[in-house]
């Protein structure tokens, strides 16, 4: 009896409690609309840039060897490249090398800048360049850009370095130019450079390492920097940051990430918060050219014509990104290379009738709303994407819906990123979603179509995942390599675009962005749509140029 009574009691309490809890949950859910604001730490000075560029795991490992994949981000602002390249459009800015010539397509002569010193006071010379190139030849694990796939030999004459290439290879300049130079007088004695952590880096760059601990480090301006007069930032502060709430609330001057609803989060946190998301790559479909029916260009064209790129771009990138063309170029960055004869900047518009015609040529006809092949079976294929790349997932779902509309059954296959990478490397897919394009126009087409990267399905490649082979493409790429004349190169690039447009080795859909978030509260002069002097990313060498362009906001400007 006692149990029974208590039971009813409990019952009443259940209800009361459940009600209370539901209220709490409702409050909590509505709490999500609480506006988060940027709250910079007041102890961070006006001359200090708080920069969200180094993630940590979640602690930092003190590793400033710029050639390691796990290096601290700032090591690439301590060690500088020969030539600074803007990944958006391939623009080459003279850096440690202040000028260069390509007397023919197999030779590069670089002249080293005068008045550059290492941060310990030693003078930088062309011998440091020769030493570094020798170092990455001796330790291939350090040759991260692949300079020695192009280089044959290096010789030094005064302040000039002459590089002889393995073959006619004019675009190699952009690859070798990225080499970051390390000091011979300190690195010559390093026992194993491939595992060397370089805990106390000495470089030529605008900043030297300040205070370091495993959750935050600071960088101080290098007073003897060769363009010290252009650097107004006195200190950089790099805390280990791991979530987007931190990105928004900590008052960062410079951050880099895709944030959902950027104007309602980053933008609303402070009136100074701005962003610039330039097109930095093309996201598209990679049909496996070795697998039937994707070896048939009419099938590829049919798929291309069936897609509504605007709606895919809107769904995938929350409207921040635009549809991409079928030229292999990233616009507007590479506008100067665009073939004016290609209509509509190369963007393929959705055209269901034309799509059905193309499919009909390949033997597929619509029957009861289904696209069926000559064997009477519905056209079905699997689309491989990477699990966790949410914009890709949304794009893949949009493709699935749009192709279903004309009667194709698309099945999504989403392994973990490593599994995805393995699948596309080995050709173990029918159609995959993937990124393509490169600011360097030669590299864009070379990695897309060169049969140098062609391997049959089952073997691993790192480019040309669609396994496209064309003598025409190979001939054009070879011709490009053999000339240093830009007008001739332009003609070749026009033909390459035509090839991509007609043969559809891959199907471009929308642009992938570079997600630059910055604040103009303390510093102005950021790269922007009006002045796209550099990609807004805050990793690799790219920020070196940005650091010299930023101006401190003075009291009267506020």
């Amino acid at each position: 009896m006692r149990f029974h009574v208590s039971h009813t009691h409990t019952h009443h309490r259940w209800k009361a409690l459940a009600f209370a809890c539901l209220t709490a949950v409702a409050l909590a859910v509505s709490g999500c609309s609480i506006q988060i604001t940027s709250q910079p730490d007041p102890s961070i000075g006006e001359d200090t840039m708080l920069i969200n560029a180094d993630k940590g795991n979640p602690l930092f490992d003190r590793n400033f060897n710029p050639y390691m994949t796990n290096t601290r981000t700032a090591s690439r602002w301590i060690y500088e490249p020969l030539i600074l390249i803007n990944p958006l459009d391939g623009t080459e800015t003279p850096w440690l090398s202040d000028s260069w010539e390509q007397p023919d397509a197999t030779t590069i002569v670089m002249h080293m800048r005068d008045g550059v010193t290492w941060s310990d006071g030693t003078t930088f010379t062309a011998k440091d360049v020769a030493f570094t190139l020798q170092l990455i030849e001796d330790y291939p694990e350090l040759d991260i850009y692949g300079a020695w796939q192009h280089l044959d030999s290096v010789s030094v004459d005064g302040d000039s370095v002459t590089m002889t290439l393995k073959s006619e290879d004019s675009p190699a300049l952009a690859i070798i130019g990225k080499t970051m130079i390390v000091p011979e007088h300190l690195w010559a004695d390093v026992e194993d450079p491939a595992t060397y952590r370089n805990e106390d880096p000495v470089g030529t760059g605008p900043f030297v390492l300040g205070n370091y601990n495993d959750q935050q480090y600071s960088m101080d301006k290098n007073p003897s920097y060769w363009q010290a007069d252009k650097v107004e930032i006195e200190h950089l502060l790099l805390p280990s940051t791991n979530n987007q709430l931190d990105t928004v609330t900590r008052g960062y001057d410079w951050s880099y990430s895709f944030i959902s609803d950027v104007s309602g989060t980053w933008g609303a946190a402070s009136p100074h918060n701005k962003w610039w998301f330039p097109n930095a790559g093309v996201i598209g479909l990679i049909p496996n050219n070795e697998v039937a029916p994707f070896d048939n260009v009419d099938v590829r064209r049919g798929i291309a014509l069936a897609l509504d790129r605007q709606s895919i771009a809107d769904v995938a990138s929350e409207g921040y990104m635009k549809p991409a063309g079928q030229t292999g170029l990233i616009l507007p960055n590479q506008e100067k290379w665009l073939d004016p004869r290609i209509p509509n900047d190369g963007i393929v518009e959705q055209d269901t009738d034309a799509a059905l015609e193309a499919f009909a040529r390949a033997g597929y006809t619509q029957k009861d709303g289904k696209l069926v092949g000559e064997d009477g079976q519905q056209f079905t294929f699997s689309l491989t994407s990477a699990n966790g790349y949410s914009d890709w997932t949304r794009a893949a779902q949009a493709v699935q819906r749009q192709l279903a509309d004309i009667g194709i059954d698309v099945e999504l296959n989403m392994p973990q990123p490593a599994g995805y990478q393995q699948a596309i490397s080995n050709g173990d897919f029918e159609v995959a979603l993937g990124g393509m394009g490169n600011g360097d126009v030669y590299q864009a087409f070379n990695s897309l179509m060169s049969s140098d990267f062609y391997v049959p399905v089952g073997e691993s490649t790192s480019n040309n995942f669609e396994r496209f082979r064309s003598d025409e493409a190979d001939r054009l790429l070879r011709e490009f390599r053999s000339t240093v004349d830009e007008d001739r190169q332009r003609d070749i690039v026009n033909e390459l675009q035509q090839l991509v447009y007609d043969e559809l080795p891959v199907i471009g859909m929308y642009y992938g962005g570079s997600w630059g978030l910055y604040s103009d509260a303390k510093f102005t002069g950021w790269p922007s749509e009006e002045d796209p002097y550099m990609i807004p990313q805050n990793y690799d060498s790219a920020p070196l140029l940005t650091f010299t362009k930023l101006k401190r906001v003075t009291e009267d400007q506020k």
Partner: protein
């Protein structure tokens, strides 16, 4: 003695099976460590053939047949030297684990013990005072809170107590400005940083202990020996603790053993949300990066501690409950 020998034999056999599984499971995942590293890099732009070659060389991607790899793995297990991590190259696995372990044991270990002690005591009280508010309030709140997913509770606490009210720091195990060391400032800082993650684990795990203890104890309360003790006029507290609770605690104790064994695995989601530099955080990154050496070391550590904890609980059972010894 035979009881212990039997348990010991079983322990060794399970250990070998676990060690072997631990070798093969990570290798069944699609993709290689280099694929994982390249997938990460290629989100920032195209990766060239050369970069792939450089990464493979840096990582020292496994070579040799599976059998050779297995033998060298067994050697690693015996010598406890797991080599260099792939994801966190060039750091060694042992240095990474020894940095992370104290944080996890400090956080998850302390909270697990606290949750067990507090939860069991509340469970005893709830069963003893069954039918009153002392029973329904903790039982209902506990069961309600324990249905929350870990990470959701963590996010709510992080958002409200961290970002909106600013009562507690939002990430890390200590502030970036304090120097690690056995100073009062550092210890205080660590405790402050541990509050939110600890609260998350406590909130979501307390309910299980309360309900488990309460339900078994309500059963024992109906047993004759308890009525007999009451009839003998023993004090209420003595009956509750010495007679009812001691017999009711066995299932909870098993759970506690398992939970303690699992402590070294950290709490992946909680550590992830709070960027807490513990084993759970490491494990997550090891799996994402297909970091075989690190994964092997971590899984081995987890399995072995669960096995040891089970073994100890088995022994303890024998002490607490003479019937299991037969």
């Amino acid at each position: 003695m035979r009881y212990i020998a039997q348990k010991l034999g079983l322990f060794v056999l399970t250990l070998w099976a676990a060690i072997t599984l631990n070798f093969f499971l990570p290798r069944l995942m699609p993709g290689s460590p280099a694929d994982a590293a390249i997938a990460k890099l290629s989100q920032n732009g195209p990766v060239t053939e050369a970069t792939r070659a450089a990464i493979e060389a840096q990582l020292g991607v496994p070579t040799g047949s599976m059998w050779d790899q297995y033998l060298s793995y067994l050697h690693q297990v015996v010598t406890l030297d797991f080599g260099v991590s792939y994801t966190f190259y060039p750091q060694t696995v042992s240095s990474m684990v020894s940095t992370a372990l104290p944080y996890t044991i400090g956080l998850v270990g302390v909270v697990t013990i606290l949750a067990f002690v507090i939860g069991t005591l509340i469970g005893v009280a709830a069963a003893w005072k069954r039918g009153t508010w002392l029973d329904s309030l903790p039982t209902l709140t506990g069961s309600f809170l324990s249905t929350f997913p870990y990470f959701w509770t963590a996010l709510l606490l992080l958002f409200f107590l961290g970002y909106v009210l600013h009562w507690f720091p939002t990430s890390g195990a200590y502030a970036a400005t304090t120097t690690p060391g056995l100073t009062p400032a550092f210890v205080g800082d660590v405790v402050q940083h541990a509050v939110l993650p600890a609260l998350t684990i406590l909130i979501t795990s307390l309910g299980g202990w309360i309900i488990g203890m309460r339900n078994t104890m309500i059963n024992t309360l109906g047993d004759d020996y308890v009525t007999f003790a009451e009839a003998n006029g023993l004090r209420g507290r003595t009956v509750a603790i010495r007679y009812a609770a001691r017999n009711a605690i066995l299932p909870n104790l098993t759970g506690f053993g398992l939970a303690l064994g699992g402590v070294v695995g950290g709490s992946i989601l909680v550590e992830q949300v709070f960027a807490y530099p513990g084993i759970g955080y490491l494990l997550f990154n090891a799996v994402i990066g297909q970091d075989y050496p690190l994964m092997q070391a971590l899984f081995l550590m987890i399995t072995v501690s669960v096995l040891i904890a089970n073994f100890l609980v088995d022994i303890l059972y024998g002490v607490l409950d003479p019937r299991t010894r037969r």
